[in-house]
Amino acid sequence: MARYGLRLLYGVIVVWGAFTGAFFLLYVVPGDAAGGLTAGADGADVKQLLAEQRELLGLDRPVWVQYWDALTGALQGDFGESIYQRRPAVEVYFESFPETLKLAFLGLLLAVVLGVTLSVVIELTNWKWARELLISLPPVAVSLPPFLVGLVLLQVFAFQLHWIKAVNDPSFGGLLIASAALAVAGGGSISQLLTANLRGALTSPYVETARNWGLSRFDVVVRHALKNAALPVITSLGTTVGVMVGGTVLTETVFSRLGVGRLVVDAVDGRDMPVVLVAVTISAVIFVAVNLVVDAVHPLLDKRIQWDG
């Protein structure tokens, strides 16, 4: 358990590092929000206008003061106001966060279901050429750009079948198809990993024992081999979540859905520091939390793994 506490501390350090890294990355990048606000203004007083805005936003203070303010504010849950929307950045972020969370969560779920099913079906297929065909699917799936999958699904389901609306379909069907676009690459990589692991597990002695008990092939694969083969896949889910978050931007663009992805692109573009910091902090917290959960689940799946080990 002490080890778990240490991991928690590491997690806090990682979140702090992400916050700090994002702050200084955006700080050293030329241009600031005052430039974004005064964009398009011309004439002799542009320089004065810029200075005024800077003073108003507190951008004229020394960088350490700005950083300290941002950090202490963030610790109290106050990230400051979004520069363009003049509302608390947290409010702006959490307005579109549920949409993205739904998309990413459903995408991850579909990816796991598709990936695991495909791997099991590959193991259970006897017919040689059908098996070869199925084995070639995961590498193809990971080679498909997510935006292209999205476009194909959009063309088929919105323009050919008219099942969903092409622009920001609010129904569950729209969400499902958007998350399917997200799930293809994730499912492919899960299946690739799982197929390799299953093959290893199926040659190990305990599976041989299970076979000699007279268990059916389905039982051997699903109830015995799958559990052990799943372990590295669960570890990889930590990174898959990160891939999902990046993938939502593309999916949201293709399906014209409003979400965090678009918000972040605009915020970085306009140097809207509070919004960017909220986004980075939330993403880092998710990353750390997922990895902590993955670590906590390991000993439950494999009794040989223990915390103090």
């Binding site: 590092g17 990048v29 193809v140």
Partner: protein, 314 residues
């Protein structure tokens, strides 16, 4: 980046085939088994026995040729507009059809190859060099330096790569090569982790121990034994990463962060065709197909390099 563990699978495969004396020796001194057909004539015949691998090599050759000399495949000018040939369907004259300015989409796809490939290779080179250096330092020094460097790597992995890319691109300005720099910086963490674990693994091998007993100094041991053996795995992983980089370059270009519109570039072609996806779907999907085939080929070749290795960055 996802890591692909293939250890169990390869070990199971090896147990079935009888080991040659040299393979037994390699195992005894702690060397990794050579990939099948390594070091003899069969090595170069390997692609011939696998039609998929052969096709992958052929496609990569075609793509490289298109990148170096696009005029061979499409003699026309990728920017030439023709008002009388707007939004034509694919046909003998226009293999991929024409866009809303009457430009030939096939010519544009061919001429876009160079920029897309260049960006992917530059991205991997940046990630490979910087990541390997960090990983080597961490793995060679160990102790406190190692744990500090690895914490920094953890932080790099926790910040969404999209935000890092966006910040870097907004600092450097939009452009395909700036995308490459951003992707390279993002992939540094993965390469650093891989290099570190390889350095640690190789340092524990018996032949490195033997080098200690032979009286070799630390520097010689590091650069004659550890670095070459560790970097072999990392280089093999880098071939896979080129495929991933092609996808990411296309994705960021698709979001409009790459070269400005008239420039032919794969991701941008897909993005431009997006407006017409309802009717002239080929404008987006055919250049997209070129991306898919190229990534597929690079991954296939990468997998053949990575056979028998424990970890693959992809």
């Amino acid at each position: 980046m996802t890591t692909l563990e293939t250890e169990g699978a390869t070990e199971a495969g090896e147990a079935a085939t009888p080991m040659s004396p040299s393979a037994r020796l390699r195992r005894r001194v702690g060397l990794r088994p050579r990939p099948p057909g390594h070091g003899d004539r069969r090595r170069w015949a390997a692609p011939l026995r696998s039609p998929g691998l052969l096709a992958a090599y052929l496609w990569i050759a075609v793509i490289l040729l298109a990148a170096i000399h696009p005029g061979l495949f499409a003699a026309g000018d990728p920017l030439r507009q023709d008002g009388s040939q707007i939004l034509l369907a694919p046909g003998a004259d226009h293999l991929f059809g024409t866009d809303d300015f009457g430009r030939d989409q096939f010519t544009r796809a061919v001429w876009g190859t160079r920029l897309s490939l260049q960006a992917a290779v530059v991205a991997v080179a940046i990630g490979l060099v910087s990541g390997s250096l960090i990983g080597l330092v961490a793995g060679a020094l160990r102790g406190r330096a190692d744990s500090i460097l690895m914490r920094i790597i953890d932080i790099m992995l926790a910040v969404p790569s999209l935000i890092v890319s966006l910040a870097i691109i907004s600092a450097l300005g939009r452009g395909t090569l700036n995308i490459a720099v951003a992707i390279g910086i993002n992939s540094t963490a993965g390469f650093a982790r891989l290099m570190r674990s390889e350095v640690l693994k190789v340092s524990n091998a018996k032949y490195v121990e033997a080098s200690v007993f032979a009286g070799h100094g630390y520097v010689r041991r590091l650069f004659k034994h550890v670095v070459p053996n560790a970097s072999r795995s990392v280089l093999a992983a880098a071939t896979m990463d080129i495929g991933t980089a092609i996808l990411t370059v296309a994705a960021l270009s698709f979001l409009g962060l790459g070269a400005p519109p008239p420039t032919p570039e794969w991701g941008l072609l897909v993005a431009e065709g997006r407006t017409f996806i309802g009717v002239q779907w080929w404008l987006s999907l055919l250049p997209g197909l070129v991306i898919v085939l190229t990534v597929l080929a690079v991954y296939r070749v990468g997998r053949s390099f990575n056979r028998g290795r424990t970890r693959v960055v992809a």
